[in-house]
């Protein structure tokens, strides 16, 4: 069974001035063709305007195998901006994230976003080597309109080839995204 830990995608939110907020991203070590894990800028807008709820929203994943759209560019907004880099095979389907949780951690002085392990059952090797996982807010009740499904963030994972067994992505024990 393939199992990958989504290491911390850490965000430091710094009050840069009255009424403004700047986000600084510390990416993990670069791997493969992608260069960074990112939290897409538009997702900040949707968070700040109460259009994106990381606990109760319908949030789904995409497994990427390519980088032609530079999916780690935080300027992307919607699923169709990066979907050309999504792998394809009959054994693959996007997964809706379950047991989503936001935690305010007094000891570490941060908020953490986590969710249940994301399992792609019996993902065939023909799907291709997975280089990243992206998450997005499904808008409209289905995936039929990718032009309005809002990208949230992307984890640049170690390139991993599926082998036909379950392909599992596991949030880190301190959350998949940290806000501080």
């Amino acid at each position: 069974m393939e199992q990958i830990t989504l290491q911390f995608l850490s965000l430091w939110l710094i009050v840069a001035g009255l009424g403004s907020l700047a986000a600084i991203l510390r990416p993990p070590q670069s791997r493969g063709a992608l260069h960074a894990s990112v939290f897409y800028h538009q997702a900040f807008v949707e968070l700040a305007t109460a259009n994106l709820n990381l606990v109760s929203g319908v949030i789904r994943d995409m497994l990427l195998t390519g980088s032609t759209t530079t999916p780690d560019n935080p300027d992307h907004e919607f699923v169709d901006d990066i979907s050309a880099d999504e792998g394809a095979h009959a054994s693959y389907g996007r997964v809706t994230l379950g047991t989503k949780a936001m935690t305010d951690d007094d000891v570490n002085n941060r908020a953490e976003w986590s969710f249940a392990d994301v399992v792609h059952a019996t993902l065939n090797a023909a799907f291709g080597t997975v280089t990243a996982m992206a998450s997005y807010l499904q808008v409209g009740g289905d995936d039929a309109t990718p032009g309005n499904d809002i990208l949230i963030c992307l984890w640049d994972i170690a390139d991993t080839a599926p082998d036909g067994s379950d392909f599992t992505l596991q949030p880190g024990s301190e959350g998949a995204v940290q806000f501080a």
């Binding site: 949780a101 936001m102 935690t103 986590s114």
Partner: protein
């Protein structure tokens, strides 16, 4: 089955106001806590976990 994470330990509340009140009690006692809002089986639940005495 979702993996049980540390943030889901501690007291569970179905009501957010009650969870916040409990956290304030613990803070008043000088304890550091974690507060979690989670969606479990489609329902919202709230957890207050003492991290340090």
């Amino acid at each position: 089955m979702p993996r049980i994470r540390t943030q889901f330990l501690g007291e569970r509340f179905d009501d957010k106001t009650a969870a916040i009140a409990r956290r304030r009690e613990l803070r008043a006692e000088g304890k550091k806590t974690a507060f979690t809002e989670a969606e479990i089986d489609g329902e919202l639940a709230y957890f207050v976990n003492v991290l340090e005495d």
